[in-house]
């Protein structure tokens, strides 16, 4: 069995699966249950200053469901912990003492004044927690008070606060980033410049989950009114993966440790984040949907996959997909693929045909010799992959690369052997003379 033990910026855990700072990590009772279930670590729900904040007393969550109530996306308007600071600190200290092999990171959010940070850092240090995570991400409530994403959206503030934290604390420092920003590389650079040991991302995305059309109220609705909340869950994973990859491959931040967050529901999701450079992953919605037991298959599945691939420790594959994240201009324009429909698997629903006919390139038949039959017309197929995506049968339609030297029936051109991209394409007014990689 593969070794899942993780050393993330000096913080050791039994596996890379941490619970993110959120309701599941708000108190000792939940965290102990999580550790018993097998979670490798937790980021304790964000601490702030006393007096404790208050939460709304109506709905805090909204969801988007599939037809069978599969939870696809979740949002929340819950704020940071609403329990007294001292109660949290005592519980953190006790849990860390009782569970020394698990990671226990404390999330923090206090006003942007150096004294406030000095004060809370000292108290957290006394708990012997493994590190701190700076919550510069929450998009609702706290941001209106100049904290959370209000900080995360200003790189200079990130750098300033991170520097205070590193200056006044011996603890490893993770900066949690908001996705509610145009270019996530800028706050990551700022965190690095401030001395952060790592970044974690993504925090939740500004969102309105829906509108009650009877009440004309956004949902979740609190007494007829709604405020934007933070969106998370499986639906946000692609956004999170991109942001993780952007930081992992940017020369300015390359090598900066990343704790990946955003819709991680299965071991495969986690492995994907790790392949894009995440040294640990954080989970919330999956646990809030199914309970802590989901970690069991995250552990088993990741371990089994690593065994199959011959990886004996997680650091052997963390970041392995990063070199393959490129920019559009460097994609190989000589790579030519055609869709191919496996007639034995085809159930003749015709979705590929109508998608291609109505919205793409008229490259799939509906009738052949008077029979209902769906075949790709290579002369028209641009290899766009839409048919693969809309086909209800897995592996029925595949994209088959054309061999070099053959003739593309669409363009009547020979499929060239080598690599060529937009930077050297004759249609590019800015074309360089030689392809740059």
């Amino acid at each position: 069995m593969a070794d899942l033990r993780t050393n993330f910026i000096g913080i050791k855990s039994t596996n890379p699966f941490w619970l993110a700072s959120a309701p599941p990590t708000d108190k000792e009772y939940n965290v102990v249950r999580a550790f018993k279930a097998g979670w490798g670590g937790v980021v304790w729900k964000t601490l702030g200053e006393d007096p404790a904040i208050v939460n709304v007393n109506g709905p805090r969550y909204g969801a988007i469901h599939g037809k069978d109530r599969q939870l696809i996306g979740l949002n929340n308007i819950e704020l940071i912990t609403d329990r007294p600071l001292e109660v949290n600190l005592q519980e953190i200290k006790k849990v860390k003492r009782d569970w020394p092999d698990r990671a226990l990171v404390v999330s923090l959010m206090v006003p942007c004044e150096e004294a406030n940070w000095i004060n809370i850092l000292k108290r957290v240090e006394d708990t012997e927690a493994d590190g701190v995570e700076l919550n510069f991400g929450c998009p609702h409530g706290m941001s209106e008070r100049g904290m959370g994403s209000a900080v995360g959206q200003v790189p200079e503030y990130i750098e300033m606060v991170t520097r205070w934290v590193k200056q006044h604390s011996r603890m490893p420092c993770i900066v949690k980033l908001t996705p509610n920003i145009t270019d996530v590389r800028k706050p990551a650079e700022a965190a690095k410049a401030g001395g952060a040991d790592a970044v974690s991302l993504i925090n939740t995305i500004n969102s309105i989950m829906g509108v009650d059309l009877d009440e004309m109220s956004p949902s979740p609705s609190v007494d007829g009114k709604g405020a934007h909340g933070g969106y998370c869950g499986p639906a946000v994973k692609p956004i999170a993966l991109n942001m993780v990859a952007e930081i992992a491959r940017d020369p300015a931040t390359h090598g900066l440790p990343i704790s990946g967050i955003g819709g991680i529901t299965t071991w495969r999701d986690a492995a994907e984040f790790m392949a894009l450079g995440a040294g640990s992953v954080q989970v919330c919605t999956a646990a809030m949907t199914y309970g802590f037991k989901v970690v069991e298959d995250m552990i088993d599945g990741l371990s089994d996959w690593m065994d199959q691939k011959g990886y004996t420790s997680v650091d052997q594959f963390v970041g392995n997909a990063v070199p393959n994240v490129s920019d559009w201009q460097y994609l190989n324009l000589n790579y030519i693929a055609k869709a191919k429909i496996d007639q034995d698997l085809c159930i003749k629903c015709g979705r590929c045909h109508i998608a291609c006919e109505d919205t793409s390139h008229q490259a799939i038949t509906s009738m052949v010799n008077g029979e209902r039959r769906f075949e790709v017309i290579d002369e028209e197929c641009v290899g766009c992959n839409l048919c693969v995506n809309v086909c209800p049968v897995e592996n029925c339609i595949t994209m088959e690369p054309m061999a070099a030297g053959s003739i593309d029936p669409r363009t009547k051109q020979v499929v060239e052997k080598g690599y060529a991209n937009w930077t050297t394409h004759p249609n590019n007014p800015m074309a360089a003379k030689d392809a740059a990689e």
């Binding site: 599939g66 037809k67 069978d68 109530r69 159930i347 003749k348 629903c349 015709g350 979705r351 045909h353 109508i354 509906s366 209902r372 209800p392 049968v393």
Partner: protein, 458 residues
């Protein structure tokens, strides 16, 4: 599935037929005759609708005799627009509610569903159709259609079964004045009198008749039988067009001695009695029942007899089981209800005692390669308190104008359901080439109405 069969005394010996009412405890009847497929809950419907792939040029739609846009109505359920879904159905099939209950979907839309082809589990199209139409009819007393300006034309529709109702509705939509005649004391035809009770509970057939008639412009006249108190020549003289949907009023005979004796009954009559009964516990039920036939009617009577408390019900069919007209689903329904299906046997003699059937002698048969059926000479006997004939129905031709063209005992119609007479159209079971299905009758009525409308506007 049969509730509370009473203890049977095996030592009982009784002279003469053992026929009695009330063989079951009171509460067993409502359970046995409850909805065969209960209405889907909203969540079930949403999940099932989500299974539909919204196929291009969908095979299910091609297979529907009334060409309902099935992917569209299912999508409308999925999007939370069940009333819109029902309208999509009613546009093509105003009796979509009944068809959802009685269509042999496993040989029509669901047979060709790509998910049937792919995984043997079709989308439950029939049950989704029921969901949408029931939803609409529970919230609306009237059809979603409005009538065109009055045309001043009058059309007689003879027979208020599925074909007649469908035709009358479509004609009314086009602005014509319709007089709808029916021989019985209420409309509905086989929907009301000829379908097993568990397929149409809670008086659905009559509610649907009211729904169809709500379009307005249709005058229903019951107790009017063609060849009795109305005749075709008179109708042709009085109305601008006539649509005949008179069904098959005659019942085929076994042509055996003693056929007129007590206990030898027409299945269609007893099925009607069950549907019209105020109290199922009042119906006479034999202990040993033999049903002759292999179609839906045979299954309907056999299953209902079993559900009424008969001990032993046997369907006797002269050919092999795969030749039975009853769908596979119906055959399985019979067998899981406890009905035996005896194939390759044909009536040999009806044995009576004191003028009442006591047993039936059957001869084994064998099908030859050329399709002919031969008796083997081997005779077996089944005790029978009741024998039901379900060997097909016939058109009563005496009711018709002698000049109307018939073939194989049915009215000949063209693609527009027009008969040999210039101003007479026909549809439903009484025409040649029909499939004896509610849904094809509805389609006949619809096509005929369009053709009549075109003729009247010409």
């Amino acid at each position: 599935m049969i509730a509370n069969l009473p203890e049977i005394s095996m030592t009982q010996t009784k002279a003469g037929p053992d026929i009695a009412a009330g063989r079951l405890p009171e509460d067993a009847y409502s359970e046995n005759f409850s909805d065969l497929h209960p209405l889907l809950e909203q969540h079930e419907a949403q999940v099932e609708a989500d299974r539909c792939y919204f196929c291009y040029d969908a095979p299910c739609m091609q297979a529907c005799p009334t060409s309902i846009d099935i992917p569209q109505f299912i999508r409308q359920i999925s999007t939370g627009n069940p009333d819109g879904s029902a309208k999509t159905i009613f546009e093509q099939n105003i009796l979509g509610g009944m068809c959802a209950r009685v269509c042999p979907t496993e040989t029509l839309c669901e047979e060709v569903c790509v998910r049937e082809v792919a995984e043997g589990k079709p989308v439950k199209i029939g049950q989704l159709q029921r969901y949408a139409t029931d939803h609409y009819m529970s919230g609306h007393d009237e059809t979603p259609f409005s009538r065109a300006a009055a045309s001043g034309k009058k059309v007689a529709v003879v027979g208020a079964g599925p074909a007649g109702l469908s035709c009358a509705h479509r004609l009314a939509v086009h602005g014509h004045e319709v007089t709808l005649f029916d021989a019985r004391d209420k409309a509905g035809g086989l929907n009301e009198f000829g379908i097993a009770s568990y397929k149409s509970v809670e008086n659905f057939a009559q509610r649907e008749v009211d729904f169809v008639l709500s379009i307005g412009g249709i005058e229903l006249k019951t107790g009017m039988r063609l060849g009795d108190n109305i005749d075709l020549a008179e109708l042709r003289a009085t109305f601008d067009a006539v649509f005949l949907s008179i069904g098959l009023g005659g019942v085929n005979a076994l042509n055996k001695e003693n056929e007129s004796h007590n206990g030898v009954l027409n299945a269609v009559d007893y099925i009607s009695d069950i549907r019209q009964a105020d109290e199922l516990s009042q119906l006479p039920v034999g202990r040993n029942i033999v049903v002759i036939g292999g179609g839906m009617t045979a299954v309907d009577i056999a299953v209902q007899k079993k559900l009424l408390g008969a001990d032993d019900v046997t369907i006797v069919y002269r050919r092999e089981q795969d030749r039975m007209n009853a769908s596979k689903f119906e055959q399985e329904l019979a067998q899981t209800t406890g009905v035996k299906i005896l194939t390759n046997a044909q009536p040999h003699a009806l044995v009576t005692e004191n003028g009442h059937i006591s047993s039936i002698e059957l001869e084994r048969t064998v099908s030859l390669a050329d399709g002919t059926l031969n008796g083997t000479g081997e005779i077996l006997s089944l005790p029978a308190d009741m024998v039901f004939k379900a060997v097909g129905q016939t058109l009563v031709r005496d009711d018709l104008d002698a000049t109307i063209a018939l073939e194989k005992g049915r009215i000949v119609v063209d693609a527009d359901r027009k008969t040999s007479l210039d101003d007479v159209w026909a549809g439903g079971d009484c025409v040649l080439g029909g499939e004896d299905l509610t849904v094809t009758a509805v389609e006949d009525g619809k096509i005929a109405a369009e053709s009549i409308n075109a003729a009247l506007n010409a």
